[in-house]
Structure formats: C-alpha cells, structure tokens
C-alpha cells in the first residue's frame, strides 16, 4: 500500500495509462508524417493543414470523449474513444513539427538526392525522414507529456487509468490517492520523454560524431 493505494492497483493503472497515452502517440505519428510532409511540400496546403490540425487541440478533451461514441458508434466505455481522441491531440501537436522537420532538410541535400536518381517516395523515406528525426522527436516528446496529462480526464467517463486515483480521492475526500496519482503521472511522463530522447540519439548517430575532426 502507498497513500492508500494498493501497489498492484497502482501498477495496473499505470500500465493502462501508458497504453492509453502511448499507443495514440504512435498512431498520431503515423498520421502526422504524411500530413506534415504534404504541408512542407506545398505552399498552398501548408496553412490549411497546419492550422486545421492545430485547431483540433482546442477541442476540450471531456467533450471529445463524450462525443466520439456518437460519431464512431462505439460504446461509451470503449477504450477506442480515448485512443482516437488522444490520437487526434497527437496529430494536432505533431503535424506542425513534422512539417518543420521536413522543412529543415537542406535544399541542396534534397536536390542532390533527386539528381542521384531517387524517386520522390524513396527519397522522402531514406533521405528526408532520417534528417527530420531530431525535429520530429522533439515534437514527439511534447506530445508524450501532453498525452500523459490529458488522458487522465478519461476517468470522468469511467475509463480506468491513473486519473481514477483523482476521482477516487475526490469522492472519498482523501489526499493520498491524488498525490500518488500525480507522482505516478510525473514519473510516467518523464520516463516516456527520456525514452524518446534516447531513441532520437540512437537514430541520429551522425549528430554525435563531433564535426570538424
């Protein structure tokens, strides 16, 4: 027991929290990559795509959790509602960063790749994307922390994760579960952040090579 919460319950809720915040991070990245690429590629699409996706972030999360079952035809307690909502928030945060990431690829490098005989898709995957990794992972870290924070609101519609500790503490007028829940959220956010930062380093060995040798 810690702060009136059983270790087993805490572990279970943390895993649920990680699942509900983490899976949308990956799904959101998969959606943002083509959207961001489109925005970076065409001057005409840039504003509508970036502004449009950013607007998603202004939808209150509680409203989204309640509306999604009506739109998707899912049951109110279905995890899918939370996963979809969190994916939308991830897309809202990541599309601009992905566009910036593709935009950060030096023009002469892209031109050289085209002149070598790369087709567009192959170039994007093997030249543009690796070079955009540092910018994209920076955005991914922000989205990860944001997801960990927002997903706790899903407790209000009864989807279990660390947010349940807040509603529980509130209902029972007990500070213990609330403090434990906040701490667990912070630890989870910091861990995810560090994991993405580490992954970014692994994916960009050339940045650690020490230029000018």
């Amino acid at each position: 027991m810690i702060g009136g919460v059983a270790w087993e319950t805490l572990g279970e809720l943390t895993l649920r929290h990680l699942y509900l915040a983490g899976v949308p991070l990956l799904l959101g990245l998969l959606v943002s990559l083509p959207l961001g690429w489109l925005a970076a590629r065409s001057r005409w699409l840039q504003t509508p795509v970036v502004a449009g996706t950013s607007l998603l972030y202004t939808i209150p999360s509680l409203a989204l959790f309640i509306m999604l079952p009506l739109i998707l035809g899912t049951r109110i307690l279905d995890d899918a509602n939370v996963l979809v909502a969190m994916t939308l928030y991830t897309v809202a945060l990541l599309t601009r960063t992905v566009a910036d990431g593709f935009g950060s690829v030096p023009g002469h490098v892209r031109q050289a790749a085209t002149a070598m005989g790369y087709g567009e898709l192959r170039r994007v995957v093997s030249v543009d994307l690796p070079l955009a990794v540092p910018v994209i992972t920076a955005g991914l870290r922000v989205a990860a922390v944001s997801n960990v924070s927002i997903v706790s609101i899903a407790a209000l519609i009864g989807v279990s994760q660390l947010g349940m500790l807040f509603t529980d503490g509130f209902n029972r007028n007990a500070m213990g579960p609330i403090v434990v829940g906040v701490l667990a959220c912070v630890v989870l956010a910091v861990t995810l952040d560090a994991a993405i930062a580490g992954l970014s380093k692994v994916l960009t060995p050339w940045l650690r090579s020490g230029a000018g040798a």
Partner: protein, 367 residues
C-alpha cells in the same frame, strides 16, 4: 554526344532563362558553361538530367531524346556534383558514395567495391570513408561529392559550380584532380562556373552565355581569347585576355644552361646573380655576388620566384623569368635543373612562332 536543339526555358512569369540554345557538347573532355549570374547556365546544365524541363526544343544524349527516358532512371546514369557537395549528412562517406550503385540495383558487395574504388580515385583514404561528411573539411567533402558522382560508372558528369565554396589553394588541387580523372576515365564533363579563369583553365570547349539566356560564343579557350565574338564576350573574358592567352602558347624556347654553386662554395667577386643548388643539384635560390667574394653564406641566398617545367606555357615561362631576382627564370624537368630563360627569349620565341605580332621598327624586324 549531348546536343541541345533550339532549347528554350521560359518560366510562368515570362522570364526567359534559356533562349533558343543550340549546342553540341563533344564526347570526352570538359565543356564549361560560363557567364554572369542569371545567364541560364545552371538551368541549361540541369536540363541535361531533367532536373529542369525545357519549354521547347529537345536535348539528345547519344542521339536519344532524353525526354523519352524516365527522369530518375536517366539521372542514375549521369553523375552530378553540386556547389556545397550536397552530401547526405546522415550517411558515412562510404554510404554516400554507394548511393548511385545501390539505386542502379547493384548488390551490396558490388556497390561497396565500386564506392571504395571511387573513393580511392579521388584521393581519400579508407579511414575517411568511415566518417560522416561533417567530420571532413570542405575540400574533402567536395572530393566525396566527385566520388559519389563517379561511383555508378557514368559516361557524363555534370558539375554545378563545384569548387566555388572552397579556398583558392584547395580549388587548384581539385581542378587538377578533375582534369586528371576526366583523362583517366575518358568521361564527358559539363561544368558550370561564373569564374572565367576556371573556365579557361579547365575547359576544352567553353560556352559563354549572356544575359537573357542566349549563347554568346562556343569555342576553345584559345579561340575565345584571340577572337571574342562580340563586345560582351570580350568584356567577360577580361581586360587581361592578351596576358591570359599566354597560357595557351607553348613556344619552343632554347633554355640556357646555368652554372650552379653550393652554399659554402667560393665565388669570385662581381659574378652577379648566381644560382645556388643543393647537393642533388636542385635549385635553392639566387645569390647576388656584387662587391664581395668568397664562400656563399646561406643567409644571402634569396628564394627564386616561380619555377617552370620544361615545355611549359609561355605564361609559366614568363612568370618564372619575371619573378626571378636575376631576371632568369628557372626551368626544371623531373626535379632536375635544365637551365634558365629570360623574358626576352620567351617573347622572341613567341614572335618567331607567330603567337605575337612583330610591330614595325622592332629589333626583330630590322634586317
């Protein structure tokens, strides 16, 4: 082998980048497109590998209309070197150079072997091949750029201002390297530069392009200097084109034997300028023996100016003579002293061979 037929590039806003260009780039050798900024030289170059599509006209490569070939596939067979090398910063030098062989579908082993060969050709080491581009100097990066262009065994290599971002000494080395590679591999190089000196140094043929994207003259460097087609070309080639033309004449000058002394050796007073050599007979410098005699002290030896190889151009020979404190230019061959020449001798040889007109009343004209 590369033929521009009435090629025009007009942009949507009406700007004409290239105006009715017809040109035949000969197979082998270096053809340079030169001109001021905005003359359409880079646009012309990029039309060869379809980075830019012409508005009208066509370009033939070995008699085949390039617009009939898929652009990406065409580009894999044409090497391309750009100004800042344009290397992939996330790939090692070796992986960069393997790019085109891999795109051509060669297996890993063959691509790797071709890349290593190309890296060695441009004078880089195996150790450098493992590094990332940011770990190399600008000149080395540009060498990697050249290696990457060569690795897929292209017959044509396009170079867009390849050496303008490196310092003059490195540029000289790279130019010599490109010339050597062109000769060794027998490839056709088409190069764009805004630097007329580079064009004259490297070009077998030079296309001078003027404002509005029209071709002002297409000729050999010597022709360009001797007979510029119009005022624009004359201006562009430069005021000192008479002097530059000396680079393209190699007059047969009789080199005079030159006595040498060693440091510490006795010289007679009043010998004038004496050439000092080391034990191997390599010239070290000049010493002015006036008003003194005896052993030559090392500190009195003045370095000579430039040195000309036997058979060098009139420009090099004259430069050696003019930069020498004794007025006698040192001529060497394979590291050995051949003798010296004076500026008068060089000019006399030029007149004799008809490179320079003999003005009336000059000593040579007198019977």
């Amino acid at each position: 082998m590369i033929r521009f037929e009435d090629v025009t590039k007009r942009y949507a806003d009406g700007t004409v980048a290239v105006d009715d260009l017809s040109l035949e780039v000969p197979r082998g050798g270096i053809t340079v497109l030169v001109g001021p900024s905005g003359c359409g030289k880079t646009t012309s170059l990029r039309m060869i590998n379809r980075m830019v599509e012409p508005t009208s006209g066509r370009i033939l490569l070995e008699g085949e209309d390039i617009s009939q070939r898929p652009a990406a596939q065409l580009r894999r067979h044409i090497g391309y070197v750009i100004q800042h090398a344009g290397l992939f910063p996330h790939r090692t030098v070796l992986a960069n150079v393997m790019t085109v062989p891999r795109l051509l579908g060669w297996d890993r082993g063959k691509a790797r072997a071709a890349a290593i060969e190309a890296i060695e050709k441009v004078g880089l080491t195996q150790d450098q091949a493992k590094r990332y581009p940011a770990q190399l100097s600008g000149g080395q990066q540009q060498r990697v750029g050249v290696a990457r262009a060569l690795a897929g065994d292209p017959t044509v290599v396009l170079m867009d201002e390849p050496f303008s971002a490196v310092d003059p000494i490195v540029r000289g080395d790279l130019q010599a390297e490109v010339r050597r590679l062109q000769q060794d591999l027998g490839i056709t190089i088409v190069m764009v530069t805004h630097d007329i000196d580079e064009a004259l140094t490297l070009g077998d043929k030079i296309a001078v392009m003027g404002y509005g994207g029209h071709l002002a003259q297409f000729a050999s460097p010597a022709e360009l200097l001797a007979e510029p087609a119009d005022d624009f070309v004359a201006d562009f080639v430069g005021k000192d084109r008479g002097y530059r033309a000396l680079s393209f004449a190699a007059p047969d000058v009789a080199v005079r034997p030159e006595r040498t002394v060693r440091v510490g050796e006795n010289v007679a007073a009043g010998s004038g300028w004496v050439l000092v050599a080391d034990d191997e007979g390599m010239p070290q410098g000049w010493v002015d023996v006036a008003g003194w005699g005896g052993p030559v002290p090392a500190e009195k030896v003045r370095r000579f100016g430039t040195v000309a190889e036997a058979g060098a151009s009139a420009r090099t020979l004259l430069d050696a003579a003019l930069s020498s404190p004794s007025g006698r230019g040192v001529v060497v061959e394979d590291g050995h002293l051949v003798g010296t020449v004076t500026a008068d001798q060089v000019l006399a040889a030029m007149r004799r061979e008809g490179h320079v007109a003999t003005p009336p009343g000059s000593p040579e004209e007198a019977p």
